[in-house]
């Protein structure tokens, strides 16, 4: 039996040079294509790795542009220019108190120069789109950018706009109809930012910290009082 196996093996080994070489070339080519494909797939990483081995940028061209003899002078001049630019930038920070409102996290910071005076939660626009028809709709979002306090009012009265009635399924009354005027719902104070947007109080304190308003900024009673006292007419409000 063993003899038979050996005979079989010998018969196979007669074909060795052709078969084995063919298999060797085939398997090496397959491997070659696989490695090539891996290289192509990882080309960006390999290029990044190769770039890290290159020496860093030369200084010669910059030295030639300035001129080595003028380097000290140019250095001092640039330093002065930077100091001036820094001063100009600092002048953009308000001298008086200012407010920063975060509409993403629904919180605020009352600032003086670069120091935080007070921070707390607030409510900003809900991003709800109230759609009446294709032509008429309102988006309840708090506008972003820099605003100024245009007016400060104690015990404000809310003159309800059209959407306040439509939202409740009511008929929209005439412009100065008594039903438009609501007392107490804006809290004790209001700071006017223009275009109908206000910073005011709320009856729904449990919703503070959530995006629930129609675009105004709502605050809790104590925070609102502090902000009202700290901010003057003309003070800046940054909303992002």
């Amino acid at each position: 039996m063993k003899k038979q196996v050996n005979e079989y093996a010998e018969s196979r080994s007669d074909q060795k040079p052709h078969h084995a070489l063919r298999w060797l070339l085939f398997s090496s080519m397959v491997l070659s294509l696989l490695i090539t494909w891996m290289v192509v797939l990882k080309m960006e990483n390999l290029v990044e790795a190769a770039l890290s081995l290159r020496p860093k940028a030369h200084l010669n061209a910059t030295a030639a542009r300035i001129g080595l003899d003028k380097l000290d002078e140019t250095f001092v001049n640039t330093q002065k220019q930077n100091e001036e630019a820094q001063k100009k930038l600092l002048a953009y920070v308000p001298d008086q108190n200012y407010l920063i409102v975060n509409t993403v996290g629904n919180n605020f910071r009352l600032m003086n120069k670069n120091q935080m005076v007070r921070e707390g939660i607030c409510s900003t626009g809900s991003y709800t789109v109230l759609k009446v028809d294709d032509k008429k709709q309102w988006t309840f979002k708090t506008p972003r950018g820099m605003f100024k306090v245009l007016n400060k009012v104690k015990d404000p009265v809310w003159k309800k706009p059209d959407w306040a009635f439509i939202e409740e399924g009511l008929k929209v009354p005439s412009a100065n109809h008594p039903s438009r005027f609501e007392y107490g719902s804006l809290g004790d104070y209001a700071l006017y930012l223009g275009q109908g947007y206000l910073i005011h109080g709320t009856l729904y304190k449990r919703y503070l910290g959530m995006p629930v308003t129609h675009g105004c900024v709502r605050m809790g009673d104590e925070d609102l009082e502090a902000v009202f006292k700290a901010m003057k007419i003309g003070s800046k409000v940054y909303i992002y």
């Binding site: 010669n60 061209a61 910059t62 200012y98 972003r144 820099m146």
Partner: protein
């Protein structure tokens, strides 16, 4: 048992057919043949020739000759300056370059401070990415991890000046979250319908935030949250990564000519907290600007 077809191996006592025995012997012969030094060398040469040629053609030669220019649209002068610098002069020129970069950074901030829009200030030196409005930092975001493309280090300062001279403008963004969480509500017809529509407000979202900003002049900013995402966000993240892959897709020829291609992405990858990532993505407008310093 048919003795012509059935054999018994001496070692294991397991019954094997002539075919199995033959292929095992064939494999043994092949391995013996393969492990001969000459044959092995031949195998390795054939297997590695193509990848090595590709690496030499696509990486070694072009990287060696690479003239780092961040954007093909730049007007760059010839940088063949023959100036020999002493060690002290090199240090002085290097500090001047830093000063000039600072000047560009400050001038860009001054330029954007005059505009009304919210913009980003990416300061790799301070490891911060800040939101600014009219020159006032409204939110400081700490960078937890960062990685910049090695190309940044290779660009000559003279080529860098025109690239950095004005703020970058956002052209496209991909993200796992919508820009604004808009909910459309149809106006109720009467008070009964309004009462039915009234619902409790939902707490702020906590979904995973991963996004990529594509700016002009080849600058790409990838921002990932550090916090591990919830399982329910995996699909969203997978979709975002697929979109990003499509956006960055290169053909085979583009890949093998990657370094030779004039316009290459200048990538910066940042890792920040989920809260910071969400604030950055939601706060900036779609045509926002970015100022860069490193």
């Amino acid at each position: 048992m048919n003795k012509n077809n059935q054999f018994r191996s001496d070692d294991s006592g397991e019954e094997i057919s002539p075919a199995t025995s033959g292929s095992l012997t064939g494999l043994k012969i092949f391995l013996q043949y393969f492990l001969r030094p000459k044959t092995f060398v031949l195998f390795m040469v054939v297997a590695l020739l193509l990848p090595i040629l590709l690496i030499v053609y696509s990486i070694i030669i072009p990287v060696g000759r690479y003239q780092a220019v961040p954007w093909s649209g730049l007007q760059t002068d010839s940088l063949q300056a023959e100036v020999k610098l002493s060690r002290e002069e090199k240090q002085l020129v290097a500090s001047f370059i830093e000063l000039e970069k600072e000047k560009i950074f400050l001038n860009n901030r001054l330029q954007l401070a005059k505009q009304d829009s919210i913009y980003l200030v990416l300061d790799m030196k301070d490891s911060t990415i800040n939101l600014e409005i009219k020159g006032v930092v409204v939110r400081k975001n700490r960078i937890i991890e960062s990685r910049m493309s090695n190309r940044f280090d290779l660009i000559d300062h003279e080529n860098l000046i025109p690239w950095l001279k004005k703020p970058f403008t956002l052209e496209k963004a991909l993200a796992t979250i919508p820009k604004a969480p808009i909910v459309v509500v149809q106006a109720p017809k009467d008070t009964i319908e309004a009462a039915l529509q009234a619902k409790k407000p939902e707490p702020p979202q906590t979904t995973a935030v991963f996004f990529t900003f594509y700016f002009d002049r080849n600058l790409v900013l990838e921002i990932d949250q550090i916090d591990p995402p919830d399982e329910e966000d995996y699909e969203q993240i997978k979709d975002y990564r697929r979109q990003r892959k499509l956006e960055n897709h290169l053909t085979f020829w583009q890949k093998i000519n990657l370094v030779r291609h004039a316009d290459q992405k200048m990538k910066i990858r940042l890792v920040v907290s989920e809260d910071d990532a969400r604030s950055i993505y939601r706060a900036v407008p779609m045509n926002t600007h970015l100022i860069l310093r490193w």
